[in-house]
């Protein structure tokens, strides 16, 4: 009887020691911290009541017109498209690069330029992002060769994460292999 009691106690000890020693379940997962990312500073829409106040500060008038000008110019800048798995500028895109360079040095000369490299959906790995970057860099070099100051140009690659077209067709994929122009103040 004594031995049964003893072995029972040993088993109980083993069972409970297993529980207490080993963090069997990651408790931190039970209260995961939700991270709310700080929202980027948004341009506030100013109501008509406030317009005069802001105008007095000499702020909104020029900023708004600048922003409108940027939006207008961005629409005039041509997107450069690329061949599958390539980052050289195609012959049919040369004229577009030249007209973009001309615009960058004329009406858009007060703005900086952000080149956004993009790829089709074939791959989410770093190589695809590097391909997008190479496309942006080739475009940058072409712009610089046409007289745009290199220090006005920054680049980012979005890889396959910024498609303009989501259908699974060759036309759609070709639209996603591109470099977009964005203007920065």
């Amino acid at each position: 009887m004594k031995s049964i009691l003893l072995s029972g106690a040993v088993i109980a000890l083993l069972v409970f020691s297993g529980c207490s020693k080993e963090p069997i379940v990651d408790e931190s997962a039970s209260q995961p911290q939700t991270v709310t990312q700080t929202a980027p500073v948004e341009t506030e829409t100013i109501s008509s009541d406030n317009v005069s106040v802001d105008t007095e500060k000499g702020m909104s008038g020029s900023e708004d017109s600048n922003e409108m000008k940027m939006v207008k110019l961005e629409k005039e800048l041509s997107t450069i498209y690329f061949d599958f798995d390539k980052f050289v500028i195609r012959a049919d895109m040369q004229d577009k690069v030249s007209s973009d360079a001309k615009l960058a040095n004329a009406e858009a000369s007060n703005f900086n330029i952000k080149l956004e490299g993009n790829c089709d959906e074939w791959g989410s790995d770093e190589y695809n992002f590097a391909l997008g970057l190479k496309r942006a860099n080739t475009t940058k070099n072409a712009l610089v060769a046409e007289g745009v100051a290199a220090n006005r140009i920054s680049m980012v690659s979005y890889g396959e994460t910024n498609p303009t077209c989501n259908e699974k067709t060759r036309d759609c994929w070709s639209k996603n292999r591109r470099v977009d122009f964005k203007l920065l103040p």
Binding site: F16, V25, S28
Partner: protein
Amino acid sequence: MRVFFTLLLLISVSFAGDATIEVIKKVESLPSIALEDASVSYDSTFKSTFFKTLAADLNVLSLFNVDRHYHETNFDGNVVVANKDMNYVLRYKLTEDDNNALNVEIKLISNEKNVLLKKYKINNKRIYVFVAHSIAYDINEFMGSPSVEWMKKRVIFSRITQARRSEIIIADYTLAYQHVILKGGLNLFPKWANKNQSAFYYSSLGGKKPLLKYLDTRTGKSKVILSSDGMMICSDVSYDEKLLLLTMAPKGQPDVYLYNVDTKQYKRATTYGGIDVSGQFIDKNTIAFISDRLGYPNIFSKKIGTSSVEQMVYYGKSNSACSAHGEYVVYKSRESSNAFSENTFNLHLISTKTDFIRRLTATGVNEFPRFSKDGDAILFIKNYKAQSSLGIIRLSHNKNYLFPLKVGKIQSIDW
């Protein structure tokens, strides 16, 4: 005849344990196991969900033929009649205590004897999947099989929700549990910063320049580590967590950089004028990386601080992602090169010590392979017919398991 058998024996001995050798047919049959639910709390929906999760975990262990029939019984009663012929019976009891914590008691029965007894407790029922994974882990340990530590680990991945919008999610390896930890903007390539998975690095593409950020999941605070023009990705974290392999392009040229967490200094590790990305530590002094120096993406290795580079893979004309573990390298290879139709990408496994290549997947776009820390399993992303899934390959058992994502597309993963 004797010579033939000796030769056969020699061949089998020399290839034993080589993961690049595919096991086509196992001679021995697997032992059977049945589950018996002896729960005293919770509704039938939750009990059914727990049963399915536990059965799926036991199946992934690849050690048993898992019986799919659900049986209810008393925890201390006899084995259910239908399970009399089973080699093993796993009986479990779910109990909700006064603090709403989930308590699980298990016993593994074999030949009418209790061969394993364990108790588990979690404060939040929502993370019940981790209890199921822990039970499977303990049964695997009991059976004396190589560790499946990865089962208890948390997977971190980024999910594309729309153009230039993503979420970073912490999940279990089956995606049954998912917790969105970072929302809004475009945040990609999450990489665990330490072994206990309390913090991670990620790329933030919302601002003027790409940023590398570090987020502590316990405090919820993030900080900027570095920024670079073009691209900024943390590709790997060293075993001691002190060194990072980054892909940066400060002058528009994507290269692999080595970053010291303590000194906050970085140095360029690759210098080729084309594309060098995705650095992976093979050991403290050697890295594998992807480069297009032959005119197409392929896998190379080099000793840090030296200029000589060695080609690691000689099969495939477009190998754009890899993961290394000891002598083994798993890599993604394009099987078709077509600008006008669907392409197939498969994962292959090679050993740096032999010439064998083992193809690990068959259809769709299989990418982003990541070895588990112990090299037992490979986690990967599969995209097939507009469905994005998380895949697990059990190398030693020659089995693949897929866990589909209901919404969005998985961009990158780590575990």
